[in-house]
Symmetry: C2
Subunit: 799 residues, 2 copies
């Protein structure tokens, strides 16, 4: 249990039950607020102490050269790193000249709560200053899901034991000093003072700062405005606002609003701070200034209460269709709602920008987006919040020019999407685990296919969707080759498992490429006119179909399992017994050379294929393959547990599935990989839903339709989840005595429950018996690499 | 023909027949002098114009960090680069205040000759200054093979058409300005002003400079002394030396000796300059100063004539045993002697330092040594100049502590020698083509085995030789694994072909490792007491033998050829037809990703196995394999042509073998890879001997003994070569009418001629009929990648 005990269980909030300075880096990520456009880490209002200050704008990055001691053709030369932009979070407090700082004086109580329905972070502190004055401080922070440019903070101070001279300094600060980067290659590069001032301006209670990012040339603007109130005991009643002195000033990198006055006990100073953020690669300085000032004026005009009401409405609507209800497990109930809240935060207003691996909650992985977005985050959002999915896929589409150029540079047709990027250009400096991981292209296609299958969005199918499918199909066709025996082989690529690289016929890659080419051919056939615009002749689509039909899937007859890739099962076994627990993650303790050539799996790869192309394997094969790969899979990646949960559930290892679900769901709340401080693991958060819905719900959604094979973890009495299917909604309510499918929508819906095909009519529900799979003994995991929750069985008992 | 026409054919010299400034970078490498300890590029005496100034001391290097945009465990962090040390070559001339510079005035004649028997570079120039005075300038430069620290220049100026005021400035200069490095990843990094002055001192005609290399901390010392003469028409007769004014001065980075006077026609000013170089990682400043001053005094005392006589004697002795005589091909005759001269220069006084890939003739590859040393250079020297071989192997032995540490870091037993290094530490920053190329360890073992087989050096067998064999055998045993079927497999390594990487069961690697383990076990069995000191128990040696016996050698039954490594022959073919000539070398135009996953071979790999482990393949297999790999092999490496020559000759493609021989032999003289300016390709130079002796001589030397199957290229009437075999010498004289084996030595020698086993008695000779293999059609090469000489058939006709 790494820190979990600092949160209480609550179905609709994440309440911190004790305050530890050492946990700040971790809680800053958990309490991060975002709308997909703006991201604020959950820093204390007063700015320090802190782990990592972080204010991010989706897409705002700095460039830096990528160095190579030995250069190579086609190596990307320019890196991109998310940067900390102008910070509008800070409100410093002085009580009788003593700065409020949790490290000094006495912290009588300190409570923070992330409210998953209100969409705000609340804080309630009672603090006695070093000179003995006790005050209550309450703050509420939100980033608006409805007003994309707007964040706001309400900050209240009430002296409890006598009059106090209260000063508040609300800041807007650029080029904050940041902690030094650490050596873990996964942590982000940080760049010093990237913002060059263009303008600073003050109004009555407003300050605007505009900067240009030094090398990338992006222009970022931030503005803040304030409402100041002095409240009497009965909240909301005016009590001489003139008693407070308000001043503003600005410098190139700093804007301040200073509020001061003497406050009596049972009076409350309330500062409401509105902050607007904006950026552009092309708009002028005056345009950017106007943009943030106007957004600010609109928010200020609507006021705090309206902002909060809109936020709650927006989330209410989200929860009404997306909520997952669990009975019998308060901890997982809380975790999955936290996960869905963070997913919606990361994506809702991203609007044709990437959804980075860590959302806008930290600078881990340099703020890059990977395949995580399409394969994990969008997989979930497609069923619960499809609109941002269309936006995210349109973002990918907008990067096609870069991806086409990259493909051409690599000597390939179609497009080659980057392994890691902010803008669409490849930023991976280690090609065996970057460029070679071509599966990202099939993963994007898979997200397109899923989106089309679920939403039936015809406009997208004609347009961006088809182009994405066509260009990725072209890539695969040029990447593989038909051999003399008539097998289509894809050689020299890297699959999801990053402990193997540059392999032939990675099964996951081959099967995903197969689907990619098949569906591309199908979509082209359905929309021939639009296909013609993309220059797709019938012969080209036929060639994709042929390649897909001939796709080579290696099989190890000797061991009767699927090798992850050609020859994998002939490799030497990793010496798991000789690997001490502190040597994980292995990539920090062993050279790639050793990892690549031995049987050790970083993350689900063949097992991910069993999930994503479920229909291509028999249950028997899945059982044998799962049993083979479990003892090899060390889960040094957060992109693994959920897939292992899904297949464990399917092959009758329910308890193991539960443990993997718990690991995925509690990855960040429990800081299981000890790096949540760099930002949340969005894919793992998405994985908790996948483990629940595809794992315990047994949902599969293929060309053949939608099916469920529900089961309940031991001790649970209910699992209920909702899906958005085009205009319709389906709620699946799994209870010990049966599974109820409740459907609303326009036309009938075909759904399979186990072997039973149901025809659901709109407005009706149907109940089927719960028939969980026969349970069998779970295969072992490498020593010490059992699902993280296993170690905490004692804790589980109390749930 | 790239510049070859600037040399005349001559059996014992390399005479430049025209002077082109653009060719300076090329000729500086060809005319480089070295003794293995000191290396001087063939810069013009007056220092400029130049391509690349270069004065090198074997082992003297600077350190620099190796940058990685994405770090990884076990990546080397510190790079080593050879540096340009204090330059003592320069003698500037002023004629009536006009500086002699080939770019100004009129160059009436300019001739340079590298004399392969005298071991000197001679220059003879007639120049008319811009003001109209004509002078003859003659210089002779040598680096002593007998006095390791000493180089010398004799410089003579004679006015031809009237009296001239002659000034000579002899320099010793540190931190010369160097040209900017270019972008080719193979070219060396250059480091600015690496030398920090410790001392500069002047004597009567002597100057000493001592410096420390900034980061590596090595101390380098250089001193020069001079003899000045004014000769009358009859050379050697004094004519008033007092007429010349001689001054010396020094600064931290510069020492000068200025000689001036008025010289009459038919008088000659002669400046003889002796230069001593030394370096140390540990010795003090006074010790280093004394070291060079003392060496200088000794050379000065002996004088120029003695130095030249020693040099000629030393080379005379060398040629008496090592010469290769060819009748019917003046060009190859010259080229092979040039090659052997450069080999002996590179190695003779290296004395427990590395022999870099480019010797001391340029800064290409940062001055690093690779497997080239053992596999090519030492392969040849073992048979013609074995003493430097023992030294070179002792150098490897001296790096065992680093190699053991590296093995441990990689999780392996024994030692892991570096892919590229100056001091013994791994400097390769791209592990798939560096660290993973473990074959370097078997190549070192192979050189040990060959040295022991040829010399019978018992002391070395007991000592360094055994330890090298044992530690490399330990590496292989830990690197491979015995699979369930009882095959010993070596996975995830890179073979010689750098257009494949991280492959399983590279046949070359597996066969070389097999030999390594077998011979290690054998040597251990022969010297049990010495083996015990290395902690080798009988079981350990038995385990090596078992692994060697079980070594897995993949075979492609479908195509009936050996795959270079597992699955290689299943890969897609490279699109040779679609690859234009200007896209070679491919690594500068295509990503590794594409190269690795397709059937395209940079350099002999499986074909090298056919040569190095000849006895493991039938002639039939060799033919099929050669036919398969020829159309795939693009020879983007200079380490390929000689092996292709050897196998081409064996399988009955004599004309093709001849063309590969010519490519290897003329690699540098013709500048075939257009990078001779970075330094000579020592391995290719060695390859010319290999192509002649192992190719046309058909020499194989295995555990089973020494054998020959001679043949002559079309048009040749004779090929005669000598071998040093322990105390004995063998000369093999191949003529059209028979092959004569002439043996001198102590005991009888068993030699196989084709299928005939001969017992040669000392002092006798035996003649056998010449029975060349049946000729068959040669397989094709990739379009445009035929042996370089093929394009020049017209020229060949005239030979």
């Amino acid at each position: 249990m790494i820190g979990h005990t600092c949160f209480d269980n609550d179905p609709w909030t994440l309440p911190e039950n004790r305050f530890e300075i050492d946990l700040l880096p971790h809680t800053e990520s958990l309490f991060a607020l975002s709308n997909g456009h703006i991201g604020w880490r959950g820093i204390l209002d007063e700015g320090e102490p802190h782990g990592l200050p972080g204010t991010y704008l989706n897409g705002v990055h700095e460039l830096h050269p990528l160095p190579y001691a030995e250069a190579g053709y086609g190596y990307p030369e320019s890196g991109q790193t998310v940067i900390n932009v102008t910070n509008g979070k800070i409100i410093r407090l002085l009580v009788d000249d003593e700065p409020f700082d949790v490290r000094y004086g006495t912290l009588v109580s300190h409570k923070r709560v992330l409210d998953l329905r209100a969409g705000v972070l609340r804080r309630d502190v009672v603090w006695t200053s070093p000179t003995g004055r006790t005050v209550r401080i309450r703050s509420t922070r939100l980033i608006s899901l409805t007003q994309r440019a707007i964040a706001a903070v309400r900050y209240e101070v009430e002296p409890l034991d006598g009059p106090a001279r209260i000063s508040l300094v609300s800041e807007l600060v650029a080029n904050e000093e940041l902690p030094h980067r650490h050596n873990d290659p996964r942590a982000a590069a940080m760049l010093e003072n990237p913002l060059v001032s263009d303008l600073h301006a003050v109004g009555k209670t407003r300050i605007t700062l505009v900067h240009t990012v030094r090398h990338s040339g992006l222009r970022v603007a931030a503005a803040m405005d304030h409402t100041v109130e002095l409240l009497s005991e009965h909240e909301g009643e005016w009590n001489d606002p003139e008693a407070l002195d308000v001043r503003v000033d600005s410098e190139p990198d700093l804007g301040r609003c200073l509020v001061s006055g003497v406050v009596q006990p049972h009076q409350t100073v309330r500062l409401t701070k509105f902050v607007a953020h904006g950026w552009s690669a092309s708009r002028s300085l005056p345009a950017m200034r106007d943009q943030v000032d106007a957004a600010l004026a609109a928010a200020h005009y609507g006021g705090w209460d309206a902002l909060c009401a809109e936020q709650a409405d927006c989330l209410g609507e989200f929860w009404s269709r997306a909520d997952v209800e669990i009975e019998g497990d308060a901890e997982i109930q809380q975790a999955v709602r936290f996960a869905l809240f963070q997913l919606v935060q990361s994506a809702r207003r991203a609007e044709q920008r990437a959804i980075p691996a860590k959302g806008l909650t930290g600078n881990g992985y340099d703020g890059h987006a990977f395949w995580d977005t399409e394969s994990f985050v969008l997989q979930v959002l497609t069923y619960i919040d499809p609109q941002p999915v269309a936006h995210a896929l349109r973002w990918r589409h907008s990067t096609l020019p870069d991806a086409r150029e990259r493909a051409a540079q690599l000597g390939l047709n179609g497009c080659a999407f980057p392994w890691r990027t902010i803008t669409g250009q490849e930023c991976s400096a280690y090609w065996p685990a970057g460029t070679a991981a071509f599966h990202v292209n099939a993963d994007i296609a898979d997200a397109v296919i899923r989106y089309l299958r679920v939403t039936g969005d015809v406009e997208f199918a004609h347009g961006e969707g088809m182009e994405l499918l066509v260009e990725t199909a072209r890539l695969w066709h040029s990447l593989g080759h038909m051999d003399e025996a008539g097998d289509f082989r894809i050689n020299g690529v890297t699959g999801p498992d990053e402990y193997s690289a540059i392999v032939d016929n990675n099964i996951y890659t081959n099967l995903m490429a197969q689907q990619n080419m098949l569906v591309a051919a199908e979509v082209v056939a359905h929309h021939p006119e639009h296909a013609r615009k993309l220059g797709v002749a019938a012969e080209e689509a036929e060639a994709w179909r042929e390649a897909a039909d001939a796709m080579f899937i290696p099989y190890d007859e000797l061991r009767d399992v699927h090798p992850q890739s050609d020859g994998f099962t002939d490799h030497e076994m990793w010496d798991f017994a000789g690997t001490p627990p502190e040597h994980y993650p292995l990539l920090l303790q062993y050279p790639y050379f050793q990892l690549y050539r031995k049987q050790v799996v970083k993350q689900a790869d063949l097992v991910l294929a069993l999930q994503m192309r479920s229909e291509m394997f028999t249950l028997d094969e899945k059982q044998r393959d799962f049993d083979y790969y479990e003892p090899l899979t060390v889960r040094d990646s957060s992109l693994s547990a959920c897939s292992q949960a899904v297949i464990a559930a399917e092959v009758g290892c329910g308890r193991l599935a539960y443990d993997y679900l718990a690991e995925a769901a509690l990855m960040d709340i429990d800081d299981l990989e000890r790096n949540t401080s760099d930002g949340l693991h969005l894919a793992s958060l998405a994985g908790s839903w996948i483990a629940l819905v595809s794992g315990f719900g047994g949902m599969r959604h293929t060309d053949a339709g939608l099916s469920f094979s529900p089961q309940l973890p031991e001790g649970w009495t209910r699992l209920c989840f909702g899906l958005v299917l085009g205009d319709g909604r389906l709620r699946v309510d799994v209870r010990t005595d049966g599974v109820t499918y409740e459907y609303t929508g326009k036309g009938p819906l075909e759904v399979r429950h186990g072997d039973t095909l149901m025809q659901l009519e709109p407005g009706t529900s149907e109940t089927q018996p719960l028939s969980p799979p026969k349970q069998r003994p779970a295969p072992p995991q490498p020593a010490g690499r059992q699902p993280a929750r296993r170690a905490h069985d004692a804790v589980r008992v109390s749930v």
